[in-house]
């Protein structure tokens, strides 16, 4: 009975992560098209905020969810008809933040349940997430012959991911504060 419950819980977190990553990615491409620097690289990339939150909350399940959605997004928007590149890119997008999470947990005195996590360590984490993901992704894409030739591509990608992560975190902060104020009134 417990194992069935676990499977349902795990599947739910994978589906929630996948759907939110996919929807935010599509919204980013459509609504923030002006922030596009070159193919696949934006000055503001909101899905990185979803990656950060999902990996922190759901860990491995979050990584699986991100990997699935990112593979689909890569196939749809960047490398049509090359599933190996898409799946590889998805796995890097999903699992490199998991490695960054493990690193932060060991080095920043945070435990697996995020006890001792604070604003500063959250920002350090998000920067590390962005750096690791971008470097591994660019390496993989160049190995697969899809290297981005735009100047400063890696730098813009890291900046875009970090700005996107901060935008999502501060949006969450505003929502949390608003909910608190609303509850104080009622």
């Amino acid at each position: 009975m417990n194992s069935i419950k676990n499977i349902i819980n795990n599947s739910t977190s994978v589906v929630i992560t996948s759907l939110s990553y996919y929807c935010i990615s599509v919204a980013n491409f459509r609504l923030l098209a002006f922030s596009k620097y070159s193919e696949g690289i934006h000055w503001i990339y909101l899905p990185s905020g979803i990656v950060l939150i999902s990996i922190l909350l759901f860990a491995e399940n979050g990584a699986v969810g991100i990997a699935i959605a990112s593979s689909i997004i890569t196939q749809q928007y960047y490398v049509h008809d090359d599933w190996i590149t898409s799946v590889g890119n998805g796995l890097i997008t999903g699992f490199s933040p998991l490695a960054a999470r493990a690193f932060c947990i060991s080095k920043l005195n945070i435990d697996a349940n995020l006890n001792n996590l604070n604003g500063s360590s959250l920002m350090i984490m998000s920067l590390l997430f962005c750096l690791l993901k971008t470097c591994m992704r660019e390496l993989w894409l160049s190995l697969r012959g899809h290297q981005n030739h735009a100047q400063y591509a890696i730098l813009v990608s890291v900046v875009g991911d970090f700005v996107g992560a901060l935008a999502i975190l501060y949006l969450a902060k505003i929502i949390i504060a608003s909910v608190g104020q609303f509850r104080n009134k009622t």
């Binding site: 909350l57 349940n113 995020l114 006890n115 604070n118 604003g119 959250l122 975190l169 902060k173 104080n184």
Partner: protein, 118 residues
């Protein structure tokens, strides 16, 4: 017997919310709001109930209308609450909210840390 357990995701969610709330942000209070709040805190600490009218005349260097505007913004920000007098509903007492206690508590912690550093 059914055991109540809190899942790891719930603990992580609560810790994440706390971390997000502690992220740096622009100052919540302006200088005059802080001044008004500190004046109120000294009254509350002495156990003196202070009314809006008394507070308007409290500062010699700030006009009553300016103080009144700041009281309104402090109320809007959830730091103070107004309670009508039981006998005279024109008299309103200024009372601290839990948020005000939290803010003052943080200020106290900063002061203690600063003294320790010295």
């Amino acid at each position: 017997m059914k055991r109540n357990t809190i899942s790891n995701e719930t603990i992580r969610f609560l810790n994440l919310i706390t971390a997000i709330r502690s992220m740096p942000s622009v100052p919540v209070l302006d200088a005059l709001e802080e001044k008004v709040l500190i004046a109120l805190a000294s009254k509350w600490a002495s156990g003196i109930a202070i009314t809006v009218m008394e507070m308007l005349d409290y500062f010699t260097d700030v006009s009553p209308s300016t103080v009144h505007r700041r009281l309104k913004t402090l109320k809007k920000k959830g730091l103070i609450a107004l309670k009508e007098d039981d006998d005279d509903n024109r008299t309103k007492y200024i009372q601290p909210t839990q948020l005000a206690f939290n803010v003052l508590d943080e200020v106290g912690k900063c002061m203690t840390a600063a003294v320790k550093m010295k």
